[in-house]
């Protein structure tokens, strides 16, 4: 059977949108439970940390350039540099290091 590409795209859109929009529209009140509130407070930090490491190691052409970018990024963020600065300098670290590491 041949499938229509636009039906595929519509399914991708509909499922993803419902996942995102249902909690936003259905949960209107402030949640009272202290445990659930704490859970939702911690969610972003855990999620972003899990997604960053070790995935970053495979994102670039060399594991070492990625590790260096990670270390520099953590240092700059620790020193309170802005999101934009941390992102751009991480890219620069990879670009410069890979001039030497990857050929």
């Amino acid at each position: 059977m041949n499938h229509n590409i636009y039906v595929y795209i519509f399914i991708m859109f509909a499922v993803t949108y419902l996942i995102r929009v249902l909690p936003l529209t259905l949960i209107r009140k402030e949640i009272q439970s202290k445990t659930i509130r704490s859970f939702l407070y911690y969610v972003p930090y855990v999620t972003l940390a899990v997604m960053t490491f070790p995935a970053i190691l495979d994102a670039t052409a060399s594991t070492w350039s990625a590790l260096a970018a990670l270390a520099v990024g953590i240092l700059l963020a620790w020193l309170g540099k802005s999101l934009f600065t941390v992102a751009v300098i991480s890219c620069a670290v990879v670009f410069v290091l890979e001039l030497f590491l990857v050929r």
């Binding site: 595929y8 995102r20 969610v43 052409a61």
Partner: protein, 241 residues
């Protein structure tokens, strides 16, 4: 501040934050476009998919379904798994919106809950003004859609060194979001360390290493954030601030 003035302030601030997001997206969606092209999609179709879906893992997964000409049901299941983490993020985000935020705003914010936009939106100290998201979306969505389009059209013209460098932009942003709070709170610092270590182990250990990245993220988030919620419930002032 007047309401409209405040909206404008947050919209412009969102645009500024959207620039690194858009740049990172451009690199990621460029490679996404290459896989869309390999799946037999035209540049226009791939761009439409990116405009509507705004999800890297979800789109990669979807394009593999399209490439294999698999059934529609499979597409539904694939998208549910690849994007389930957004359910957690949206629950978390629902608590950042003011209770009186209208339905239209909720529908619009929900259109683009991505890892990056979520990360930035959640990092505002008080309640979230939806216009902050709209500002980010103004830059991020075109970056994402056009990057995908060009990925299909130009394939491998962009030097790999540039693509390689740009692909850490998104991780750099994640780091910039989680590290400053980790410096202030020992609990968050511990959580970040444990999360990264556990995530690393999950890619190495037998059985669990076979899990998809999306499922891994969900399991670890529920277990680690859940454990922290029970062991270290937040104090009221933390919530208010």
């Amino acid at each position: 501040m007047m309401k409209s003035k405040e909206n404008k302030y947050f919209y412009l601030k969102g645009i500024k934050m959207g620039i690194p997001i858009g740049l990172g997206y451009f690199a990621v969606s460029f490679t996404l476009g290459i896989s869309a092209g390999n799946a037999g999609m035209t540049a226009g179709q791939a761009m439409l998919a990116s405009f509507l879906v705004n999800a890297s893992a979800g789109e990669y997964a979807g394009f593999t379904v399209i490439a294999a000409n698999s059934g529609y049901i499979e597409m539904v299941i694939m998208e549910l798994i690849a994007n389930a983490r957004y359910l957690l993020m949206s629950c978390s985000l629902s608590q950042k919106l003011k209770e009186e935020t209208g339905l239209l705003h909720r529908l619009l914010v929900g259109f683009d809950v991505t890892d990056e936009i979520f990360g930035v939106a959640i990092s505002v100290p008080e309640k979230l003004n939806p216009f902050y998201n709209y500002g980010m979306m103004t830059v991020a969505i075109p970056g994402w859609s056009i990057g995908t389009y060009l990925g299909v059209v130009m394939g491998n013209i962009l030097p790999t060194s540039v693509v390689s460098a740009l692909s850490v932009a998104l991780y750099g942003m994640f780091i910039a979001i989680i590290i400053p709070p980790a410096r202030k709170s020992r609990i968050i610092a511990g959580l970040v360390t444990i999360s990264m270590a556990a995530s690393f182990l999950f890619t190495k250990l037998p059985v669990v290493s076979g899990l998809s990245p999306g499922i891994r993220t969900i399991i670890l988030t529920v277990v680690i954030a859940g454990g922290a919620a029970i062991l270290f419930p937040i104090k009221e002032e933390q919530h208010e601030s």
